[in-house]
């Protein structure tokens, strides 16, 4: 029963970054960090891929733009109110609803993208957390396979973790 999940609570950002580097060197790459603010040093240390939220924004905005033009054009054609000298489909006038819907759909799609990718609002089964993560502490969570647990704990300790919490694999997925 050596493996498990270890959460190191750090009071400084440089010690947390050091812990991540050392854990990665030791072959422990299943890592997660916690911080009270978006911390670029931590983000770089983890080598994360680009967030896919931007695709949601783009698709949402384009859908909104298309809807904003399609709806007035369709309603204009659906019931033609022909006025002498005036076009059936006055595009300049439709730019405004199209623009507003582009923004609206783009913004809502961005939020949906955030909720899905960051798993906001979903039932949370992760046990690892410390209330000080929203105040001034940084956390490094490492999932260590069988045989690597003591290494993980040692690296967190040596880097300067102020507190270490541990779960074995079974209890980590209860709750």
């Amino acid at each position: 029963m050596d493996g498990g999940r270890f959460l190191g609570v750090f009071h400084e950002v440089d010690t947390a970054v050091e812990a991540i580097g050392n854990l990665r060197q030791a072959g422990l790459t299943d890592l997660e960090t916690y911080s009270p603010l978006p911390q670029h040093d931590l983000e770089h240390a983890l080598h994360r891929p680009q967030s896919p939220v931007r695709v949601f924004t783009l698709v949402g905005a384009l859908t909104g733009l298309a809807t904003g033009f399609a709806l007035p054009i369709w309603t204009g054609l659906d019931w033609p109110l022909i006025t002498g000298g005036m076009p059936m489909i006055p595009i300049p006038a439709y730019v405004v609803p199209a623009f507003e819907l582009m923004i609206l759909f783009g913004a809502l799609a961005t939020v949906i993208g955030l909720f899905i990718n960051a798993r906001l609002g979903a039932p949370d089964r992760e046990l690892a957390y410390h209330p000080s993560f929203s105040a001034g502490s940084f956390g490094v969570l490492v999932a260590a396979p069988e045989g690597k647990g003591s290494d993980a704990r040692r690296i967190l300790e040596e880097a300067g973790a102020a507190e270490i919490q541990a779960w074995d694999e079974e209890s980590a997925h209860e709750a």
Partner: protein
């Protein structure tokens, strides 16, 4: 002598934990003055409701609206509140994109102001209707004969613009709040607050994964909100400029309105932040530097507004022949029945803001408080002059009329401030009024060598410094 890293914008705040302590303490038990103010605001909302129901029950004739002035205090106040709503998104989105390092502490309050101001503005088009229960006719849906609203009408654009603005600014506000609500959740000991914040925090843990997506989403929302701000007041200005009423039919209206909106909105932010700073002891958060920066923006947008006034006058002078048409609005505003409104507008918007050229005044908070109130009064009268003075002198002289607001209009005008104040007061006690997470971005990150006060430690040299941080020789701690 030990070296301590201080934030450039907030030199008084040293630790991340201090931010949580100071900001979340606002959510503590409020004093008697708070309840008194809240009761006053609720009474004002009662006045609004009473006036509105009196108008619905007895008819729109209770308002002073009479041909040709069918848009009076209601639409003036509508434009005023939409204008107020503009600075919040300016500070939270545009200054975010420009990486202005003084926005962090003020943007939350400004954003809340935006949301509540749009909520206030949204009441007025409905109040102003003779049959307010039929407001939904403006919504884009077909009637029973399958006819849709006229999408070429600026009034329909207005519905699109204002509802988009309300939804997007509320979303932006709510999104920025998530990490701070989590901080409140972790800190509070009051059971109902704990439950409320646990739900509202949506399971936020500040994990690297969450921050990664959060930052991206925030950036894209800011990028979407920026053109939105400009479009909303442009569309509001087109409610007027797309018509053929002489004082309204002008191509400068969109930029003129946008500048005026930011001008009045920033003034309102200053008006609100100065008492909050004093009452809640947030001197370290809203520093004179912040007020200085905001005042410079007020001055800048104020000059644009002044330029628009001068352009209107120049057009009258230059066009000569059509003096009676295009010129009559500004001339009537300055010399006609509404000369007093025009005078208030010019004194408050063109003369008083020039005081802000002085750095001493920009950093003198009582003076700023008074100046910004003047600006907001002036901006209300600007809209009054544009709307009422133009309509009262519309087309044929036999039509001309003098508009006098009815008591219901004044009741609803006063009540709208109470309605706004009520939401803002509730916000102050329920949600973190300063962004806990973002403020930490302009504070020095805690590092081991810094905490141990060892300037000669080997890590001292290699650590990258944030752009908003500087080292100071700290003598008190030495």
């Amino acid at each position: 002598m030990p070296t301590v890293i201080r934030s450039e914008t907030h030199p008084e705040i040293q630790k991340y934990e201090d931010v949580n302590r100071d900001v979340l303490s606002i959510l503590g038990r409020p004093g008697r003055a708070y309840y008194l103010l809240l009761a006053l605001c609720i009474a004002g909302v009662g006045l609004l409701a009473f006036s509105f129901f009196a108008q619905v029950y007895l008819g729109i004739g209770l308002a002073g609206l009479m041909n040709p002035v069918m848009w009076g205090v209601y639409i003036t106040t509508f434009v005023f509140w939409v204008g107020i709503a503009h600075s919040g998104t300016l500070i939270s989105a545009i200054l975010f994109l420009f990486r202005a390092r003084w926005r962090q502490s003020i943007y939350r309050a400004a954003e809340a102001m935006t949301v509540f101001a749009v909520m206030t503005a949204g009441l007025f088009p409905i109040i102003h209707l003779g049959r307010p229960q039929l407001f939904y006719w403006l919504m884009p849906y077909p009637n029973q004969r399958e006819l849709w609203p006229n999408f070429t009408s600026p009034l329909v654009w207005d519905v699109f613009a204002i509802s988009t603005y309300l939804i997007v600014s509320a979303t932006f506000f709510a999104l920025g709040l998530i990490p701070d609500i989590a901080a409140a959740r972790d800190a509070t000991t009051v059971p109902w607050r704990k439950r409320l914040y646990t739900v509202l925090a949506l399971g936020w843990r500040g994990s690297g994964r969450q921050w990664l997506h959060f930052n991206r989403a925030y950036l894209y929302l800011a990028a979407l909100a920026t053109p939105l701000v400009i479009s909303v007041h442009s569309v509001v200005s087109w409610d007027f400029a797309m018509s053929i009423v002489p004082g309204w039919h002008s191509t400068i209206f969109a930029p003129y309105f946008v500048a005026g909106a930011i001008f009045s909105g920033l003034a309102m932010v200053i008006t609100l932040l100065i008492p909050i700073r004093t009452i809640f002891g947030l001197e370290a958060y809203f520093t004179p530097r912040h007020f200085d920066a905001m005042s410079k923006l007020v001055l800048f947008t104020g000059i644009i507004v002044l330029y628009a006034y001068l352009t209107e006058l120049f057009m009258v002078w230059y066009s000569g022949r059509s003096y009676k048409l295009e010129g009559q609005y500004i001339i009537a505003a300055l010399t006609g029945n509404y000369w007093w409104a025009g005078a208030i507008m010019l004194i408050c918007n063109a003369v008083v803001p020039q005081l802000l050229w002085s750095k001493k005044i920009r950093r003198n908070l009582p003076a700023l408080f008074v100046i910004t109130i003047f600006i907001n009064i002036g901006m209300w009268f600007e809209r009054y002059v544009i709307i009422v003075a133009s309509l009262a002198r519309e087309y044929m002289p036999w039509q001309w009329n003098v508009y006098k607001p009815g008591w219901v209009e004044m009741g609803i005008l006063v009540g709208s401030f109470a309605w706004f104040g009520m939401w803002f007061l509730l916000f102050l006690r329920l949600l973190p009024a300063v962004s806990v997470a973002e403020l930490k971005e302009v504070l020095p990150a805690p590092r081991r060598w810094g905490r141990l006060r060892q300037p000669s430690a080997p890590r001292d040299t290699g650590i990258p410094q944030g752009p908003g941080q500087r080292r100071v020789e700290d003598e008190e701690e030495g």
